[in-house]
Assembly symmetry: C2
Homo-oligomer: 276 residues x 2
C-alpha cells in the first residue's frame, strides 16, 4: 500500500485529521521519568498508546532524539508504532535537504532505518535534491512550503513576478515533483489565508501537513475552512507540545489522551462546519 | 577563540584553503575494511591522518553516518579530530532547518554532542530558524546560498525584483544574520559567475564554503578568481569523493594524501594567479 492510500484509509478509519508530533524535550519529561534510563522511551510510548485512538498518525521529530544521542530510542519507537498501530501513518520530521548522493543516504535513514511512511524535506536545493525520496514511489514526501514560524516570511513571502515564493514552491511540487502522487506540503496554521491559496493552487488530492495549532496559536476553524479539501479532509493537522505536555503531573498520559481527543473533536466540528 | 578566528589561523598556518569532506559511503570502503566492524571509523581516521597536513579543516557529512546508524562513529571521529588536530576547523555538514525550538535541539547536536566549530544550515525558514545557532556567537553558521547541484537553480535562481534568490539570501545573511561576524555561505564551484557575485555582495570578510570541485567538475582557477577575497583567501574549498576514493586498493590512505596535496597545490597556484 502506498503512503497516499494508507493516509486516506487512516483518515477514514480513525475519523481524525490529528497527527501527534513526538518532540520530547528531555527537560520537560514528568519528574517520575526524568531520572530513569529508559524515561524517554517510556514517555513517548505512553503518549502513543494514550493518543492512538484519536489520531491519523504520529510524527517523531528527529532533532529531539539527535540532540541527546537517542537515535536507538527513536528506532524502537518507530518499530513500536509500526507493530502496534500498523494502520496509522508514521512520518519522520527531518526537513532534510542535500545534493542527490547525500539525499540518497537521508532517504535510507528515513525509509529503511526508521521505516517511516513519509518524511519532511526542504525544497531550497531543488528537484534533484528531492529525487532520491521521490524514487521511493510508495513513500510520502512532504515538502516545506509555508512554515508556521514568524521568520517563515523572510524568504517564503518574497515575490517572484507577483507570486510569493511559497506559492511558487506549491506549484512546482504539484506540477513537477508529484509524478507518483506521493507529495504533500507543509503549510502552517498560523497563516490561514495563505493556507487557502495553497489549497486552491494544488487542488483536492494533495495532503497538507499543518503545524501551528496548539502551542503556536493557530485557529482550528480558520485552518479547516482554509485547508480542507472539498471532502472536508486532506490535512494532517499536527499538535506536539499542547498534547505531550498537557500535564506535568502523574496524569500526563491521561491528560495527553484528553487533549488529543478534545483537539480531534474540535477539528471534526470545524471541518464539518467548513463544508456546510 | 571564535570560529572566525580559528578559521583565519588555520588558513594562515596550513597555507591551505582545502577542506576534506568526510562522506564515507559504506559501499565504497576498501575491501580490506568493508567487512570489519570498525571499518567505517578506521577508514575515516586514516583519511584524516593522511590528509591533515594539506587541509584547513574537515567536514563530516552526517547523512552518511545516520543512514547506517553510525552516530557513535561520527562522535568518535569528531573527538579524534578535536584531540589530534585541534587547530583545524571541524564543520558538521547537516544543512538543518527548522523552527526555533527544534533548531535549538539541532544546535545542541552540532555544537555540544559533536563539538563542531561550525554547522551548515538551510535558510528557507528564515531568521528565527537560524537564531539558536547564531546565539552561539563563538560558533560558525554556514548558510546555504547557491548550491552546486543542477537543481540548485529551481529556487535559487528565481528572480526577486531582478535579483536572484541566492543573492537575496547572501545579502540577508550579510546584513541581518551576521551580527556576531560568525556567518558564512555555501556557494558551489560549478557556477563561478555567481560565486563572483556573492563575493562582491558580501565583501572580503565572510568565508565561503565552496563544494563542487573534484567529482562535481568545478574548475579550480575559475573558482579562485571568482571567490577569493582581496587577500587571495576567504574560501573553504571542499573536496570529498575525489579524495576519499582516490584509490580503492591497499594504498587508499596514501592516495588520498596525494590527492589532497595535489588539490591544495592546485588551489594555491590558482589563488596566487588570481590576485596577481
Amino acid at each position: 500500500m502506498t503512503f497516499s492510500e494508507k493516509l486516506k484509509h487512516a483518515w477514514q478509519d480513525t475519523d481524525s485529521l490529528l497527527m501527534v508530533g513526538l518532540d520530547p524535550d528531555m527537560g520537560r519529561l514528568p519528574s517520575k521519568l526524568a531520572s530513569t534510563p529508559d524515561g524517554l522511551f517510556v514517555f513517548c510510548r505512553d503518549i502513543i498508546d494514550a493518543t492512538a485512538p484519536y489520531v491519523c498518525g504520529f510524527k517523531p521529530q528527529i532533532a529531539y532524539f539527535s540532540a541527546v544521542g537517542a537515535e536507538p530510542v527513536l528506532h524502537r519507537l518507530c518499530q513500536y508504532i509500526r507493530k502496534e498501530y500498523p494502520d496509522l501513518v508514521l512520518m519522520l520530521d527531518a526537513k532534510r535537504g542535500d545534493i542527490g548522493a547525500t539525499a540518497q543516504q537521508y532517504a535510507i535513514e528515513a525509509f529503511d532505518r526508521y521505516q517511516a511512511d513519509a518524511v519532511t524535506i526542504n525544497p531550497y536545493m531543488g528537484l534533484d535534491s528531492a529525487q532520491p525520496y521521490l524514487d521511493r514511489g510508495d513513500k510520502g514526501v512532504i515538502v516545506l512550503c509555508r512554515t508556521s514560524n514568524p521568520g517563515g516570511s523572510d524568504l517564503q513571502a518574497l515575490s517572484i513576478d507577483g507570486v510569493p515564493l511559497y506559492l511558487t514552491v506549491a506549484e512546482m511540487v504539484a506540477k513537477r515533483w508529484n509524478q507518483h502522487g506521493q507529495c504533500g506540503l507543509v503549510v502552517g496554521a498560523t497563516y490561514p489565508e495563505e493556507l487557502a491559496r495553497v489549497r486552491q493552487c494544488v487542488g483536492d488530492q494533495m495532503p497538507l501537513l499543518v503545524p501551528g495549532i496548539g502551542a503556536q496559536g493557530g485557529d482550528i476553524l480558520a485552518t479547516c475552512q482554509a485547508g480542507c479539501n472539498s471532502n472536508g479532509s486532506g490535512m494532517m493537522i499536527n499538535s506536539s507540545r499542547a498534547i505531550l505536555y498537557a500535564s506535568s503531573g502523574h496524569d500526563w498520559a491521561q491528560a495527553s489522551a484528553h487533549a488529543a481527543q478534545a483537539t480531534r473533536d474540535a477539528i471534526n466540528l470545524a471541518r464539518r462546519q467548513s463544508v456546510d
